[in-house]
């Protein structure tokens, strides 16, 4: 691994690819969407894995707390994560 690989990489969830793992840092966006995401388990510190991605503007499927969630592109852009190595 290159040395910079050991540094934490902070990106938006929408930037991840299928099979990637990450930890949720922050959920932004409107009150309703944020509330819904939090109650479905996307609280800061939660580990997630990306199960499927689709086209560039399409939705993605992630695993969080043993459940599978489909998230639209706009929603995934509002979730900031730290990529796990």
């Amino acid at each position: 691994m290159a040395p910079e690989g050991s540094r934490a990489k902070v990106v938006r969830l929408s930037d991840l690819k299928g099979g990637d793992s990450a930890t949720v840092l922050l959920v932004s966006g409107g009150r309703a969407a944020r509330g819904r995401l939090m109650e479905m388990g996307l609280t800061p510190g939660t580990k997630i894995t990306v199960r499927h991605t689709s086209t560039r503007h399409g939705p993605m499927e992630i695993c969080v707390r043993s459940s599978c969630l489909a998230l639209g592109r706009g929603i995934a852009e509002k979730i900031v994560v730290e990529v796990s190595k």
Partner: protein, 571 residues
């Protein structure tokens, strides 16, 4: 003794309605997608000589009021104070489910956890220790497999004894979402033993069915397969039945002879039954079965995922595809299922589009008239053209009703082999509702129209409408009357046509162009009375009326133009 009340609460799609049906013997709609139950349902259960009422609450993820369903569930538990809450939990998604469990316990009502789908969890390599879970939560936990009715007896026993104990009544203060989830995580980690299982069939299926390109190929394939299954079964059954009915009619007319009574019985009652049974029922039942398989398998949610990109172009998101697919069955439940959308604007927009989707009754007209007498490729064309219309109108409506669409957030259900029992039951319920609700309307309508014909009022009424029906659309004059009846139920438009023309062999009395025009008008011209009522209930009379008036005008314009274009180039 006072009547005991049990409430069933839990996340969406964990099997609450399955348990409810098993306990009460009722038939709440079940399927494998989150959000089916939108209103609480109530049923009765007799247990050891006591009468218990059971309430099936809509699925929720928390008790914070982010949505209508959460409001319903929370208010019920808080204000109605059920004697005991059975919290149905999906063992294969334990951690996420425990969030609601912990919130429920804090509401202060006695709680019993029904640990459902333990079989699914084990297949996924997770074994849940129910005893330990019960100890850590401080409430009884009963493992069950709802689909096979395993453990339900013990569940009720436990719930009743908890209710008898009464117990805590003071709600605790709410904790923050993060804190509750931290507890859920800790409890789930302690109670689950994980084993490594080899990559599952589910993963492999999804990598094909949800693939960014191949997924769409299979989506189209599935739709085509559904279309041809319904058409071939329906066409085959329709031919056999109409043959049977016409020979029976010949035999009956020999017995009954001539006269007014014989006319009413034979041309009204019998012809109504014959047309309903041979024209409508053969397509309705296969349709119901195909939709039930789709709902039960878990593929419906995958379709919603795949369609998200398209739905966003019309101001909605993938989940709106679910009501639209249900709309191919019946517009009424489809309009109500629009409640799975998050905002009122999205609900209204999707309900409007749902009314444009050809429901099974309209499919009866497309299949029984166009596919059978013009050609299946023309029927397929009508369905595809309909999708285009929906996309265009959706886009326009999106412009007219501006607002930032909320993005897709949807739990993906596991695949399931559709249960034969559920499919048979769905078909049975469909047949039953057709026989007891639709058939009487059809018979009364046929008798009525035959009486109108008997007293010679057909031509004055058709004459009144003929500038539109004959002049603009190029249809036979009597089509006007049948279209009026179609407002009651869409299939009546075709059934009445058969009754008035005295034959179900439409090819001999209508030109292909007339059949196409008639089908197009019937597809769009007005939502049926039941749908208008459902729209009014969900969105108010003003909105319901606006949709109705729009569709009448739109259908007449579209069909007239279509008649010109099709007539000039194809027929």
């Amino acid at each position: 003794m006072r009547n005991m009340r049990i409430a069933l609460a839990g996340n969406a799609n964990v099997g609450k309605s399955t348990i409810f049906n098993a306990l009460t013997g009722l038939s709440q709609h079940i399927g494998n997608w989150p959000g089916k139950t939108v209103e609480k349902a109530e049923g009765k259960l007799a247990f050891k000589g006591r009468s218990i009422s059971v309430v099936d609450l809509p699925g929720v993820y928390s008790l914070k009021p982010y949505s209508q369903e959460e409001e319903v569930a929370r208010e019920y538990v808080r204000a109605q104070k059920p004697d005991v809450v059975i919290n149905v939990v999906d063992a294969s998604v334990l951690e996420r489910n425990l969030f609601l469990t912990l919130s429920l316990i804090r509401m202060g009502r006695p709680v019993v956890v029904a640990l459902n789908m333990v079989d699914v969890a084990e297949r996924k390599g997770a074994k849940v220790d129910a005893k330990k879970l019960s100890r850590m939560l401080g409430v009884p936990v009963v493992p069950v497999i709802a689909t096979r009715s395993i453990g339900l007896e013990q569940l009720i026993e436990k719930a009743v004894s908890e209710a008898d104990k009464g117990g805590k009544c003071r709600p605790l203060r709410e904790k923050s979402t993060e804190k509750v989830y931290a507890d859920a995580e800790r409890i789930a980690r302690e109670c689950i033993t994980l084993t490594i299982v080899r990559p599952q069939l589910e993963e492999r299926l999804d990598s094909v069915l949800m693939h960014r390109y191949a997924g769409y190929f299979f989506l189209v394939l599935a739709a085509a397969l559904m279309f041809f299954t319904v058409f071939s079964i329906g066409d085959w059954a329709s031919r056999i039945l109409s043959g049977g009915f016409s020979s029976t009619k010949a035999w009956l007319s020999g017995i009954l002879g001539e006269g007014f009574v014989s006319f009413v019985l034979l041309e009204g009652v019998f012809e109504g039954i014959a047309a309903a049974m041979s024209v409508a029922l053969p397509y309705l039942i296969p349709f119901a079965i195909v939709l039930a398989i789709l709902e039960d398998s878990g593929y419906l949610a995958r379709m919603a995922f795949l369609m998200d990109t398209f739905m966003r172009k019309i101001g909605l998101h993938g989940k709106a595809f679910i009501p639209m697919i249900l709309g191919y069955g019946c517009s009424v439940p489809a309009c109500i299922s629009c409640r799975i959308m998050e905002t009122q604007r999205e609900r209204f927009l999707s309900a409007f589009l749902v009314t444009l989707v050809p429901c099974a009754a309209r499919s009866v007209i497309i299949m029984g008239l166009v596919a059978a007498f013009v050609g299946p490729e023309w029927a397929a064309f009508l369905y595809l053209f309909n999708m285009l219309i929906i996309a265009v109108l959706g886009r326009i409506a999106f412009r007219a009703l501006p607002g930032e669409p909320m993005g897709l957030i949807m739990e993906m259900p596991s695949y399931k082999i559709p249960s034969i029992g559920n499919i048979v039951k769905t078909a049975w319920l469909k047949a039953n509702s057709f026989l007891w609700i639709a058939l009487p309307v059809i018979i009364v309508s046929t008798v009525l129209i035959k009486l109108v014909e008997f007293v010679g009022l057909i031509s004055p009424i058709s004459g009144l409408l003929s500038p539109i029906t004959v002049g603009w659309l190029g249809l036979p004059a009597i089509a006007g009357i049948t279209l009026i009846f179609g407002v009651l139920r869409k299939e009546l438009a075709l059934v009445m046509l058969a009754a008035l023309m005295g034959t179900a062999d439409f090819g001999s009395v209508l030109t292909p162009l007339q059949m196409m025009t008639f089908a197009i008008v019937s597809m769009y011209y007005i939502p049926c009375t039941a749908t208008i009522a459902a729209l009014a209930k969900e969105f108010g009379w003003k909105n319901s009326l606006a949709i109705t008036v729009f569709e009448v005008v739109f259908a007449l314009l579209l069909a007239g133009v279509a008649a010109c274009v099709l007539g000039a180039f194809f027929f």
